[in-house]
């Protein structure tokens, strides 16, 4: 009546190996693919460099920022923290809009800054909330909080990563290899935390300040498509032509 019994030891070993093993580390980011070899950079002649400046506004009734409840982590100390989805300033200025030259630079290449852009996790919010980097430029992600964060990047064109930072002061450096507007970052520990980075193959990008203003400096003379990107309001584009040492103003108005 008792037919063949299943042998237990191999299953036990497998269970112990899987369930109780303790290998691996806290950071699980897959290695980023090597950056493509760029053509030799041609610096812009400062004697002819032009500027595009402007202001981005929000028309209509801006949604009121909502307080963020950080009750799920008592170590998140940030009284008065509010959502940053739509941030408006004086006279309807729209903050946190990523403005960049989308088209018109041809196949020109530009030197890649070696200085990293710092993305800080402070008060359980990302600082800055929106920023830009160049392809190959390092992003240094810093944990200034006395709690754990994971940094979860969700690009479409680049390699995604999810890295844990369990201790205050930890830094992680990442470099994106392909241009992409925008790459979202989020923290799965603190669901309200998100940030966006625009990855470009040139330095002509800016993020609007509290009054909605921005400046793109050092442009070669030419005709450009300038795009303004907002995380919830979408994108707008304009064409602008600048001559040598000329400054042109452009304005965008997002509707609520």
């Amino acid at each position: 009546m008792l037919s063949a019994r299943v042998s237990a030891p191999p299953l036990l070993v497998l269970f112990l190996a899987v369930g109780l093993s303790a290998c691996g580390g806290g950071e699980s980011a897959p290695p980023a693919p090597p950056a493509p070899v760029a053509p030799a950079a041609k610096p812009v002649d400062p004697a002819t460099a032009a500027t595009v400046t402007g202001r981005i506004t929000f028309s209509g009734q801006a949604p009121a920022p909502r307080p963020i409840s950080m009750a799920s982590d008592p170590r998140c100390i940030n009284p008065g923290a509010v959502t940053e989805t739509v941030v408006t300033g004086a006279a309807g200025g729209l903050q946190n809009v990523f403005v960049y030259v989308k088209d018109g630079l041809g196949d020109a290449s530009f030197p890649v800054p070696a200085t990293p852009v710092v993305l800080d996790q402070k008060g359980c919010q990302y600082r800055p909330h929106v920023f830009g980097v160049q392809v190959g430029q390092p992003i240094e992600i810093l944990n200034s909080d006395a709690t754990l964060h994971n940094i979860h990047a969700l690009p479409m064109a680049n390699q995604g990563f999810n890295v844990g930072q369990a201790l205050q002061g930890l830094r992680h450096t990442h470099t994106f290899s392909t241009k992409e507007v925008m790459v979202p970052f989020k923290c799965d520990v603190h669901r309200w935390m998100n940030a966006y980075v625009g990855v470009l193959d040139h330095p002509f990008h800016a993020v609007t300040k509290a009054d909605g203003s921005f400046t793109l400096n050092g442009l070669p003379p030419g005709t450009y498509t300038v795009e303004a990107w907002h995380e919830s309001l979408g994108t707008m584009t304009q064409s602008v032509t600048v001559g040598a040492k000329e400054t042109k103003e452009v304005a965008f108005s997002f509707a609520g």
């Binding site: 008792l2 299953l11 799965d188």
Partner: protein, 330 residues
């Protein structure tokens, strides 16, 4: 004693499924980026004060899963040592193998950033584990060994057996569709209920709307099938408590489950309601499984004994509609 332990294991599996539901419902699946470690700590030494935000759900799920895995390991070991029925022993090892595979799938889905096919497989296998632990609890029950003599007995009714198995299979298919909806972000693809964009059938289609609508159609189909099963059982075997009880429980659970599904949509996927919907789906499945197993009781040896000797409890049962005699006991 073994039956009581098996019940605890089955109940703990339900708790584990609820905890897993919370992980997905709170979007915490990647809150702990590494596996099997947690932020570099050995899983069981991870400081409790670090269980904040999404880590609470993800790491809590891992701890509960480890506990359930250990409970199943012990159960498989005990069955191997003391259980005379080969199929029950094999079921114990199958449950152990399934829960190990489930742990590996859980780890892979974290390390690969929650790919939908792996996450769906993880959710679907969880229900299989629940079915296995429940089946062991059923098979080790004293009432099973007595062929439910004190609960009206169970006839060898082929129609009932087919209907019960079909209902169980349909419920499982519905759960797999639900898992697909859940892990492809289609939970609110149709934002209203009971209508779909104000109509009976969605006026527009996408893959997400299609899988969401399939889950709703599946719910309706399951409800009809469960009612038909209940009607059959109550009409033909209404006095047999061993069958009437699970089928009534099944009807009640389906009502609760449909209500929870509606509330999940109407609440915008409130995480506790959403997770209760997940675990109630599992309870619907295993209740149907209990009915199916009991309906097949007559196909097993008449006096299955835990101790290897025949039970003295003997009954003579026959179906009320022409089924074969089921229980002639020595």
């Amino acid at each position: 004693m073994l039956h009581l332990y098996a019940l605890v294991v089955a109940a703990s599996t339900a708790v584990l499924i609820f905890a897993g539901g919370l992980v997905t419902s709170t979007g915490s699946g990647l809150a702990v980026p590494d596996w099997p470690n947690s932020y570099g700590w050995f899983m069981f030494t991870f400081p409790l004060e670090n269980m904040v935000g999404g880590i609470f759900y993800e790491h809590g799920h891992r701890l509960i899963a480890s506990t359930v895995g250990f409970l199943i390991l012990v159960m498989a070991g005990v069955l191997w040592r003391v259980e005379p029925r080969a199929w029950v022993r094999r079921l114990g090892f199958a449950a152990l193998a399934a829960v190990i595979a489930q742990g590996i799938l859980g780890g892979i889905t974290v390390l690969w950033y929650l790919p939908a096919p792996i996450s769906i497989a993880h959710a679907s296998l969880a229900q299989i584990v629940f079915c296995m632990t429940t089946a062991i609890a059923v098979a080790t029950a004293p009432a099973w060994r007595r062929s439910y003599a004190r609960a009206g007995g169970v006839p060898d009714d082929p129609t009932l057996q087919r209907v019960a198995v079909a209902t169980t299979a349909l419920i499982y298919l519905q759960i797999v569709i639900g898992a697909t909806m859940r892990h492809t972000g289609a939970g609110l693809a149709i934002p209203d209920f009971p209508w779909a964009f104000g109509r009976l059938v969605p006026p527009q289609w996408s893959s997400q709307i299609a899988v969401h609508f399939a889950h709703r159609v599946g719910a309706l189909t399951v409800a009809v099938m469960v009612l038909a099963t209940a009607g059959y059982v109550l009409y033909h075997h209404g006095r047999r408590r061993a069958l009437a009880r699970p089928v009534l429980m099944l009807v009640a659970l389906v009502c609760v489950q449909i209500t929870l599904g509606a509330l999940t949509v109407l609440s915008g996927k409130q995480y506790i309601i959403n997770s209760l919907h997940v675990v109630t789906g599992g309870l619907v499945l295993v209740t149907s499984l209990v009915l199916a197993l009991r309906a097949h009781r007559a196909r097993f040896p008449l006096a299955e004994s835990h101790g290897g000797t025949l039970d003295s409890a003997a009954i003579v049962e026959s179906t009320s509609h022409g089924g074969s005699a089921a229980g002639v006991r020595a």
